[in-house]
Amino acid sequence: MEILNDLLNYLPAAIVAVGGLVVMMMDGYKAKSRLIYQTTMFFLAGALVIATYDLLYQEVGTLFSDMAASGSTAAFGTFIVVFGTFFTVILTHDYLIGVKHNYPQVYPLLMFCTVGMIVLATANDLVTVFIGLETMSISLYALAGIIRDKQLGVESALKYFILGAFSTGFFLYGIALLYGATGSTNLSEIGAYTDGSMIYWGGVSMLLVAFFFKISAVPFHMWTPDVYTGSPTTITAYMSTASKTAAIVALVLILERALPYAADQITSTMAIIAIMTMVLGNTVAMVQDNVKRMLAYSSIAHVGYLLVGLAAGTDLGFTAVLYYLLAYSLMNIGAFGVVAYYEKNHDVHFNNIESYAGLGYKQPLMGILLSVFLLSLAGIPPLAGFIGKYLVFAAAVEAGLINLVIIGVLASAASAYFYLRVMVYLYFKESKEPVKLMKPLRVYSFSLVVLAVLTLYFGILPAGITELIASYFSGNGLAIVP
């Protein structure tokens, strides 16, 4: 039974899909919101256990007649996605109750979205990439508009939808041209192609444009700040971590397997895009007064650092990118989680940096957590964000992209300003009006503490995870691990 074997290797996605359908039906039979949430968590916990097992023990191979890959990067991507979703659902449940928009349809949508992300991160064929990307995007369009009775919420959904659907057109054209040039949609068969016709280059460039849209690299980032500000905060965390992880893991797979022939041209393109993304993301983030919008621009800047690793294009670069994705997911979900906690105690527009004044002393735990996540985002040792940046830049130096690294390090140093500014407001400013913060739920603060501890752990002892990732790529990436 080959199909049974394939299904066993694809179990995380299958569990999440079945879980989504079960939760959807429970909503149909008017189950209590709390029960729906618990069922969702049950299925996600099961998927997380199996994804962890797969991460450590799954064999490298292809499933479903070459449609999907198993093991190595695919297992890693699946793990981050399921892990991110697990924490997002915990935070989302509490946040949506706080802002009084806890619709039962949110949970099945989050599950279906996760299925799309897993399919995208494990894809071994452009058809699977397309379907995974669309499943993810269509669920996210709807999730962006959860706050549907406020103009801000539906507007962000509309913007996201129009630009997302537009980029889908380009993505599809890219696939069509590559299919015409190489006669196949399979990644490794496309990789075997070495006859650079015009149509091949057309396909490659269209494909890259669409991916830049989805991961919001400059100059295709226009939708990001608006959508991230208008969406519910925890969903923003989900969009900026899990969906970017899935898209970038798919991009790594495509670059590594399908486009080795175009590697040189892609390196120079990626380098230019990376410079623009880092510079613009960091400079515009400095002038933002809205914390959520600042984090949106900061996430653009982080895509810039990731692109530096992709530009290096070596095994070392891909290793650094995957590690960075893990670190980035931990710290970004955490940071948005604390922002969501502050926000739900007030109204949706409580994100101005002024209103953070003195909050660090109100609930000391939350203040400390936000500081840890922000310091990690700024890349301050010994946190995971620092190791991520170090690995990415080291890989770029190895690949000889010195200019890129210099600009990246400068941009990264400048970014410390706006992260530390939030902390200054938290601890060193007097609040003008008295603010009362509710005590956070135990599970809420506990999950944030877990994220913070993991951020610290991967920052101090990164060797285990980097060795694991480096073993995915044949190169000897162990030498430079600190």
């Binding site: 129009i162 041209l177 006669g183 700040p225």
Partner: protein
């Protein structure tokens, strides 16, 4: 006998008409229709390649694109209805609460 270039050319022209429509029109519904136009233009390219190469995979991708187009229309129109509940306009130039 019509060569494959002609099919590809017509498809490229239709795709660009869709792109121009998305970039210049203000009405959200028309923009959605232009996106559908882009997708169906790409479908012509895929079917042409598939048919001339004698390989069925391209046509199967077209089948999936049809499903995606239907799903996008479903969610997109729901978003428009939600916009109308709050805003009473489909003109995207008037929807500008969010700026950088």
């Amino acid at each position: 006998m019509i060569g494959i270039e002609w099919y590809l050319g017509v498809s490229a022209v239709l795709f660009i008409i869709g792109v121009i429509g998305v970039l210049t029109r203000g009405n959200a519904i028309i923009i959605f229709m232009c996106v559908e136009l882009m997708l169906s233009a790409v479908n012509i390219t895929l079917v042409a390649f598939s048919s001339f190469m004698g390989d069925v995979h391209g046509m199967i991708l077209v089948f999936f694109v049809l499903c995606v187009a239907a799903a996008e229309a479903c969610v997109g129109l729901a978003i428009i209805i939600a916009i109308f509940r709050n805003n009473i306009t489909a003109d995207i130039n008037k929807i500008n609460l969010l700026r950088w």
